[in-house]
Symmetry: C2
Subunit: 321 residues, 2 copies
């Protein structure tokens, strides 16, 4: 399918989130140091192509994580930045580029990651920076997390890897995805639930199962999970379509395909959807922090940081806006 013809993507409507997440957002004092340290780590584990790409990736990731974790210690921010550099590089290099051409190859590469996540003896890591880097990250997370936190993290990482696989199977064929299925998978492809799991580890709190099942907690997490994916779709649309080729697998594309909107209408509708989720998230944050009860308050602030980071990062140069 050729890409939707229409107006210059850079002039399309965007959500106004200033009411719910006005910014400026708190940022870790270690942001720049973490960016440098992450770039050095990426020197040890060359996960991405050009030095320019590596630099840009370290910048947006370290600065983004510094907004998720403004109060965490430096090692915690470094470790999370490393993990999201790894995930983003895996997605770019192996998911989209390699996986779009040969999904079986991506499945085999993912299999090696699954072994590590499952805690089984991995393949010899030496000759494969992607696996070696994941092994390094998981060892450091395991040393820091409680057993349950580590189980949660590795579960979410499996879902993120599955999301990359799911996306690779539908590049160039967005029409095979329904809107419901897209919205259900989008949080995994944008890694937002994994970000939440890392925040819980680095901020040193842990919800009970009953707390995790509270409607306010579930709705806050769902609202931020949806928001993260959708604003990323809107912000990255210009960059994605700039490459030419088929329409990106994204919310505006599916609104055009399945609802018959023009691209501009799709952006308007999607922007409203983002604003609604941002408002819902803000309401739940207010509700959960008003109680003054920990770890619910800690969790509300953590998820607020996650939302802030995604809201912040759509303005980053990676997306050409």
């Amino acid at each position: 399918m050729s890409r939707t013809r229409g107006p210059d993507p850079l002039t399309l409507p965007m959500p106004d989130l200033r009411g719910s997440f006005p910014g400026p957002f708190a940022v870790s004092p270690y942001a720049d140091a973490v960016e440098e340290q992450t770039a050095r780590w990426l020197g040890t584990f060359p996960l991405t192509g050009s030095p320019g790409a590596a630099k840009a990736l370290c910048n947006i990731t370290a600065q983004g994580v510094a907004r998720v974790l403004p109060t965490a210690d430096r090692d915690g921010v470094v470790l999370c930045a490393g993990l999201f550099v790894w995930l983003t590089a895996f997605d770019d290099v192996h998911g989209e580029t390699e996986g779009g051409r040969d999904t079986a190859r991506l499945v085999r590469r993912t299999a090696r990651c699954v072994q590590l996540l499952a805690g089984h003896d991995g393949p010899a890591a030496g000759d494969d920076p992607c696996t070696a880097a994941l092994q390094d990250l998981l060892q450091r997370f395991r040393a820091r997390a409680t057993p349950t936190q580590y189980l949660r993290l590795t579960a979410h990482l499996r879902d993120s890897l599955f999301g990359i696989l799911w996306e690779a199977h539908h590049l160039g064929e967005p029409g095979r995805i329904t809107l419901d299925d897209y919205c259900a998978m989008r949080p995994h492809t944008v890694f937002v639930r994994t970000v939440m799991a890392t925040a819980e580890i680095m901020l040193g709190y842990e919800l009970t199962e009953d707390q995790r099942a509270l409607p306010a907690v579930r709705e806050l997490e769902r609202a931020v999970a949806d928001l993260a994916g959708w604003i990323n779709d809107l912000a990255s649309y210009a960059k994605e379509t700039d490459r030419g080729g088929p329409d990106p697998l994204s919310l505006p594309t599916l609104l055009v395909l399945h609802r018959g909107y023009s691209l501009e209408e799709a952006f308007r509708v999607a922007s409203r959807m983002c604003e609604d989720q941002a408002s819902a998230a803000r309401l739940r944050i207010t509700e959960l922090t008003a109680g003054g009860e920990n770890p619910l308050m800690a969790h509300a602030h953590a998820v607020e940081g996650v939302a802030a980071s995604y809201v912040w990062h759509i303005g980053h140069a990676r997306y050409g806006r």
Copy 2:
């Protein structure tokens, strides 16, 4: 690739496991009742094609689980039998049959399962017996397991689903898989780690992280995990090749392809590999039970039951021996 020419598979060498797992194996007194109840459950959730296939599936699964859990209560055996009927039916119907033709379709179906495993609001279950059945099973497991046991179970289920996906991507192309990668993935495709996780729930014990990391525990689990997949490969080879078509993705096929063995030599080598793992498992079971310390003893007995079940089930009529 056309299938390996050679002797009648029914005359090929098979492992002699009588030294390590002599049998007869203890069996739950509820075995027949569980088989009937599982057949009724499969009436509510029609997961498989013909009534004959459903009956055979309930028979081997219920009787197999009854050998994993000879001392568990009836509801526990019923619930595990339901889960492994579900997994096997998913593998047969969606993994091999549908997934071999259209991996993207299998990925979309798996995505709905991943939502349920992640505990997110699933798609409306009514119109899809596969998703509805999984939802039913997970609700019942969640009510019975501790939060950590449930996290482990859902992690292993993700790996089993990934294993099905991995296999679907390589049906008819076993040559793209190395022996190491095959051996690493095989436990997931035979669901054995998931069986271990369910046994831990139904027998009501829980290892600490330190116990789980003991070399004796890891080696016992690994030996039984390898054994389960390999004996299944040997026992099912005749049935798999009887269908015609390409060589099955299995240990003998890969030994022929990558080591240059004849089929008969491959069966002899694979049989020896099975016997070695069975001996290693038996040693570790003896070691862990000699200590008399729970939950390590309980775990050793549980994994012994898992091994017994796989050793038992290779003689079942499903494999035509």
